[in-house]
């Protein structure tokens, strides 16, 4: 393809430093990435860049010098490449990391919505909208996230968002059959709240959205933590059988497995409660009556696993969302491959409603935590969508 025909991208980001998301994600379009046993170099170039914060360690100028893109002082200029009309064919909005305040719910106020508004303003003023990728959740605020999705519908541009976990490698490469009857589902996640719980909730969502009837939205949520989590398990509010199924997929148990090497059946020992520092359970009730649970088990494991019981299938289905380590973090290449697919085809490979629903579910869970861990009804989370038939995770078998 000639240089003239190569697509141009704008990268709009909060911060571009070593090991943050601009580095993980954006640089795949500078360096290429491994794909199906080849080093794949996208037929597109980052042309305009806006970076909101440039503290010590900023890599923006270094990358610009090597790769020849322009750094602009505003989002509008980065999209217009210094001209008076939008000059790029797609936008990467990566607003994770950087110095931003937290709100009372513990959410970091990353300016995704604010950046997005400025992007959409350019689309409107210039009469041309291009595909947008929004890294991770849409906004800390469900209302803002809704407005983002509404704008993409109004201006009819392809809009892809979300975490890399739904598209990373799975071991084993499990996909639930589209239209299956799921009786119960449990996700085990790790890491801090409002960062890693988002990843875990979206991982769970990309599995359960394949249930019969499609996604119907969430009617209520509850977040509990501490010893209440174990009591809830004893009361049958989450399934110990599914806990066993998910933990059987973990390769990173702490405790005895590390100190003397014995593989440890954490689902059936007291060690689990000793190891988990501050357990949390996120109970999600869906409009069609389905329920799913996320357990955050920091201290016991370091990987993300999932288990589900399907009606009529005796064996529990389970797997690990594999997140290969630094410095390559190949899961981010899996996600950028989906972004590239959207830019080339003009269609998001999976619905942005997934990310909208999970953005809202997380926010309401954090409100439950703030409101004495009460169950909150969430009529506003009536987000319906149909999951794609095709699997989109890396290494999915034909």
């Amino acid at each position: 393809m000639s240089a003239q025909k190569r697509k141009k991208l704008a990268l709009i980001t909060t911060i571009w430093g070593w090991r943050n998301h601009a580095n993980h994600m954006g640089e795949r379009f500078l360096n290429g990435y491994p794909l199906n046993g080849k080093w794949h170099r996208p037929e597109m170039d980052i042309a305009g860049v806006y970076v909101a914060q440039r503290p010590e360690g900023d890599l923006t100028q270094k990358r610009a010098d090597k790769h020849g893109f322009e750094i602009y002082p505003t989002i509008a200029e980065a999209l217009r490449l210094g001209t008076d009309k939008i000059g790029v064919d797609a936008v990467l909005l990566i607003a994770e990391h950087g110095e931003y305040p937290n709100n009372e719910k513990g959410q970091k106020l990353y300016p995704r919505y604010e950046f997005f508004e400025q992007i959409v303003d350019v689309f409107k003023q210039d009469g041309r909208a291009v595909p947008v990728f929004n890294d991770k959740h849409l906004s800390y605020s469900f209302e803002k996230a809704q407005r983002m999705v509404a704008a993409s519908k109004e201006l009819q541009f392809p809009f892809l968002a979300g975490s890399s976990l739904p598209v990373t490698f799975r071991i084993p490469p499990l996909e639930l059959p589209l239209g299956c009857d799921i009786e119960d589902a449990l996700m085990i996640g790790v890491g801090g709240s409002d960062a890693m719980d988002y990843h875990a909730l979206e991982s769970m969502q990309c599995m359960v959205e394949r249930r019969r009837g499609g996604e119907t939205g969430v009617r209520a949520v509850q977040l509990i933590d501490g010893d209440e989590v174990w009591r809830a398990g004893q009361d049958g509010r989450w399934s110990r059988r599914l806990l066993e199924g998910a933990l059987a997929r973990s390769d990173s148990r702490s405790g005895i497995a590390l100190t003397d090497g014995r593989p440890q059946d954490l689902a059936h020992s007291d060690e689990l409660e000793e190891l988990v520092e501050n357990p949390a359970a996120y109970f999600i009730e869906y409009n069609d009556g389905f329920r799913a649970t996320l357990l955050m088990l920091n201290g016991a494991v370091k990987d993300s696993t999932f288990a589900a019981k399907l009606k009529g299938v005796p064996e529990v289905q389970s797997m690990q969302f594999l997140c290969p380590g630094q410095p390559n973090v190949v899961y981010s290449a899996c996600l950028m491959n989906k972004v590239e697919e959207m830019i080339v085809s003009g269609q998001a490979p999976y619905p942005v409603e997934r990310t909208l629903l999970v953005s809202g579910t997380l926010e309401r869970c954090l409100e439950s935590r703030l409101n004495d861990h009460r169950r909150l009804e969430t009529p506003e989370l009536n987000v319906s969508y149909q999951a794609p038939e095709a699997s989109h995770f890396c290494g999915a078998l034909e």
């Binding site: 070593w18 580095n23 993980h24 640089e27 795949r28 360096n31 290429g32 990435y33 491994p34 794909l35 199906n36 046993g37 080849k38 080093w39 890599l59 270094k62 490698f169 071991i171 084993p172 490469p173 066993e244 199924g245 933990l247 059987a248 997929r249 973990s250 390769d251 990173s252 148990r253 702490s254 497995a257 590390l258 100190t259 003397d260 090497g261 014995r262 593989p263 440890q264 059946d265 689902a267 059936h268 370091k302 990987d303 288990a307 064996e315 529990v316 289905q317 389970s318 594999l322 290969p324 380590g325 630094q326 410095p327 390559n328 973090v329 190949v330 290449a333 290494g395 078998l397």
Partner: protein, 403 residues
């Protein structure tokens, strides 16, 4: 008390400390392991233990206290007879990897696999009875000893399984070489050094190569290289020009989850040819060998450039190579759960007397390992390997961990 109907196992271990092969395998029999969606407890019991060395970090004594049905014996014969006069177990795990053993002048550690095996078969002979045996990793550092072990197993007629966990571990993607495919060339890129990790990479290659059309035919010659000759072979551009297929090398690097970036401040980049030598921690090693049916193979160890083991094969009339990562985990304080599928096969071996794949595979990889070390010892000389005319066939069914 152990259930008398459950098979009984004797484990012969060089060293039982945290993460030694003996610990990893025997502890999975004693305490179970994650398998599919369950914590799986093998339907058999390790009842006797022989341990050769007791370093400060030994865990075998702790395990004997923890598991009342497990008894330690001072000799291999007593472990096999449970202190009596006749063979009293239904299966033997011979795990002689790790421990403080001398090295020979070629750099091989003289693990006493053959010696343990000989003591074991003496009991088989005197009891007039044999049981299934697993020998962890290669059969021996020495070809003649390995061959004798296999011949003894044939003579006494006991099921004999050996090898690394590489052939049975997970793969990313989760694929196998199509059965009876026509394979032209195969390359692996792996980690570690000779007499330790070469066997793992060779097993990873062989479990794919043996599925090719016509079955296994054995290896006719091998040459080992160390250092810059490997980069010269890469830039040669093909086997015909004295090297190996660079597209297979690239496919391997692109399946790796640990490819080292040349610029430390950069993300994940594909190395330029001139960057490769500086990215490898110790001098790289390659074993380049040719099979009797013409298949060409190159095993490359590039510790530092990657930290995992990948394989790529060029199939006749296929535009893209078949390539995969042998997934072992790594980092993040991860458990070596690639022992889970190995234990799964061991249970089947002991319960049913059927090895999942022929012992000839491990005999061949043992011979290739010894030939590679020998070639390096003889100044990287090209060696004819008529002794490796090993023929065998595998079935269509895959034996790596898919579920």
């Amino acid at each position: 008390m152990t259930n008398p109907k459950r098979p009984k196992i004797a484990a012969l271990i060089s060293e039982y400390r945290r993460y030694s092969h003996g610990q990893n395998i025997v502890d999975r029999f004693l305490g179970g392991y994650g398998w599919e969606s369950r914590w799986h407890h093998p339907e058999m019991d390790v009842v006797s233990l022989y341990v050769d060395q007791f370093p400060e970090s030994d865990l075998s004594r702790e395990r004997v206290e923890r598991y009342p049905d497990l008894t330690m014996y001072p000799t291999i014969a007593e472990a096999l007879t449970q202190g009596g006069s006749q063979l009293a177990v239904d299966g033997v795990l011979l795990i002689a990897e790790h421990g403080d053993y001398p090295k020979n002048e070629k750099g091989q550690t003289l693990y006493p696999r053959y010696e343990f095996f000989q003591e074991m078969v003496e009991v088989f002979r005197s009891s007039g009875k044999s049981v299934p045996v697993f020998c962890d990793k290669h059969l021996s550092y020495d070809w003649d000893k390995a061959l004798e072990m296999v011949e003894t197993s044939r003579e006494l007629g006991f099921p004999f399984m050996a090898g690394s966990s590489l052939p049975v571990c997970r793969r990313i993607p989760s694929i196998d070489l199509p059965w009876k495919a026509e394979v032209e060339e195969i390359v692996s890129v792996g980690v570690g050094g000779i007499d330790g990790y070469d066997i793992h990479s060779l097993e990873a290659m062989q479990c794919l190569a043996e599925r090719r059309r016509g079955g296994e035919t054995g290896v006719v010659s091998l040459q080992a290289w160390r250092g810059d000759r490997i980069w010269e072979a890469l830039s040669a551009g093909s086997w015909e020009d004295g090297g190996f297929d660079p597209t297979l090398f690239e496919a391997c690097l692109c399946r790796s989850l640990s490819l080292k970036p040349a610029d430390e401040s950069n993300r994940h980049t594909y190395p330029e040819p001139e960057e490769l030598p500086q990215l490898v921690g110790s001098p790289p090693v390659a074993y380049r060998f040719e099979y009797a049916d013409g298949l060409r193979a190159t095993m490359i160890l590039v510790e530092g450039l990657v930290q995992d083991i990948t394989v790529a094969a060029r199939l006749k009339d296929q535009p893209d190579p078949l390539s995969l990562l042998c997934y072992l985990g790594g980092g993040h304080d991860m458990q070596p759960n690639f022992f889970n599928p190995l234990c799964h096969h061991l249970e089947h071996l002991i319960a049913n007397g059927q090895p999942p794949y022929p012992i000839e595979r491990t005999l061949l990889t043992t011979g290739l390992t010894a030939a590679g070390v020998e070639s390096l010892w003889q100044d990287q000389k090209l060696l004819d390997t008529p002794h490796l005319a090993i023929n065998y066939q595998v079935g269509v069914e895959s034996t790596f961990r898919r579920t």
